[in-house]
């Protein structure tokens, strides 16, 4: 004990040691929060193999993957009689348009409020084509991939970033019917098996009750932009403590199997970014009954047929940020 007292009795020894420990602890917490990957659950089966209740417009058996969707131009000799009777329709694909018998996507580029933004109008024949995926098919903190990489892996026709759940330890996470995280206290977007959106308050509605109620996907970011066709944010509304316009990603529903997804540029000389109110207005004029803000900033990315549509940037350097998850339209 005396030796310890004697050691620390010398000037600055305690300060030097304590300062070193504090610096190491500081660095460790930052690495833990931002860098060190912590895989918790691997996605076991391919998503959307057993989606529950689907509307009368779709096949309630769940995911359907027509051959036409993966390679519409190729005809195989061993196709069955049904296919011969109803040959798959070749999709119409342009830089801003995709249409086949189940999926129709048109992308409009607009400019308002000093910002370029991209509006995807999506019509599906079945809710099962609205899908989600986790980076590297693993749930966990700091497990990341670019939206483009995930879209390619899942052969997505169209994809945007999700809620970046892996950057936080709270917020409901339900993907393809599997609950990964059930703590949180914000507004969550629930998408049921029929592809219908609703916004719920985490904590007030438990994850269990959401799953029992048919929720198939739950995102936790927010806030809700439009509810019952009314804008529910104002000029003072922001994400967390963000006070400026930003790149944004948001998703809305117009009607059954009809969705609008908007991604805006921002944090650049060309585009300042949209406020939540400006974003909500875009959904409202497109007749969305409900719209919800997903992760934005450097995460905002829209991918269409393997091509990045927007100009992702975190404000310091151009390029896609790696994120935890995507929302996509596709067959795989």
């Amino acid at each position: 004990m005396n030796r310890v007292r004697s050691f620390f009795g010398k000037p600055y020894r305690w300060a030097a040691m304590y300062g070193g420990i504090l610096a190491l602890a500081f660095a460790f917490v930052l690495l833990d929060a931002f860098v060190i990957p912590k895989a918790q659950v691997r996605v076991e089966s391919p998503p959307m193999t057993a989606q529950p209740e689907v509307s009368e417009h779709g096949d309630s058996a769940g995911y359907i993957a027509p051959d036409a969707a993966t390679d519409h131009t190729e005809k195989e000799d061993d196709n069955n009689a049904d296919v011969e009777e109803n040959p798959p329709v070749a999709p119409v694909i342009t830089d801003t348009f995709y249409e086949d018998e189940n999926i129709s996507i048109s992308i409009e580029t607009a400019r308002k409020n000093g910002t370029t933004f991209y509006v995807a109008d999506i019509l599906l024949s079945d809710a099962s084509y609205l899908k989600t995926a986790l980076a590297k098919n693993v749930f966990g903190r700091n497990i990341k991939q670019t939206t483009t990489a995930m879209a390619e892996e899942h052969q997505a026709i169209f994809a945007v970033n999700g809620d970046y759940y892996g950057f936080r330890d709270t917020g409901y996470v339900l993907r393809n019917g599997v609950s990964y995280r059930d703590n949180g206290n914000g507004d969550a977007l629930a998408i049921d098996g029929g592809g219908n959106f609703s916004v719920v308050r985490e904590g007030s509605a438990s994850m269990e009750s959401l799953v029992d109620g048919g929720a198939w996907q739950v995102f936790s970011f927010g806030p809700a932009l439009v509810l019952d066709g009314e804008i529910v944010v104002d000029s003072g509304s922001e994400v967390g403590k963000s006070k400026t316009s930003n790149p944004r990603t948001a998703i809305g529903q117009v009607g059954e199997f009809h969705y609008i997804i908007i991604v805006s540029d921002g944090r650049s000389k060309e585009s300042q970014g949209l406020s939540l109110l400006e974003l909500a207005e875009e959904f409202a004029v497109r007749n969305c009954s409900i719209a919800y803000n997903l992760d934005g900033g450097g995460s905002s990315t829209m991918v269409f047929n393997g091509r990045t549509i927007n100009n992702p940037t975190d404000g310091r350097r151009a390029g896609e940020r790696e994120v935890s998850d995507i929302v996509y339209i596709g067959y795989e």
Binding site: L22, A25, L30, A33, T244
Partner: protein, 136 residues
């Protein structure tokens, strides 16, 4: 942050160091805000208050208003712990600010807060128990 010759406290000099540290905290906060895209954190905005109110102010009080106390002998551990507590609280506030601005959190933040207040408390208690008088 432990910069005193504890048995011969020089509270005036320590107060000045804490004032400088407060200024550094304000500078760091404002430089960090330049890269935050308008996002700010109250935790970081007010972290300068720890060295200012818990460091500079009491040491200044010690130096100016209470000369009798200055002549008392204090344990080095008391000052070490008290200063270390302020360091932990300030570092914790900065860390909290960085995480808040990024939109995330860490359970480890609590360790900084807990360590800081425990050190401040123990250090303060030890300061109340002087080891004797310094030779004039």
């Amino acid at each position: 942050m432990s910069t005193l010759d504890m048995n011969r406290p020089r509270p005036g000099r320590t107060a000045l160091i804490y004032l400088l540290l407060s200024a550094v905290c304000i500078a760091v906060t404002n430089i960090y805000a330049l890269f935050g895209h308008g996002v700010r954190s109250a935790s970081m905005d007010y972290m300068f208050l720890y060295p200012l109110l818990m460091g500079a102010a009491p040491y200044l009080l010690l130096a100016v208003l209470l000369p009798r106390i200055r002549r008392r002998r204090f344990s080095r551990a008391a000052f070490n712990l008290y200063n270390s507590g302020i360091a932990a609280l300030t570092t914790g506030a900065m860390l909290n600010g960085i995480l808040e601005i990024a939109g995330t959190a860490s359970t480890y933040q609590l360790l900084f807060v807990a360590t800081g207040w425990i050190f401040v408390f123990i250090g303060f208690i030890l300061l109340l128990i002087p080891e004797g008088k310094l030779k004039e």
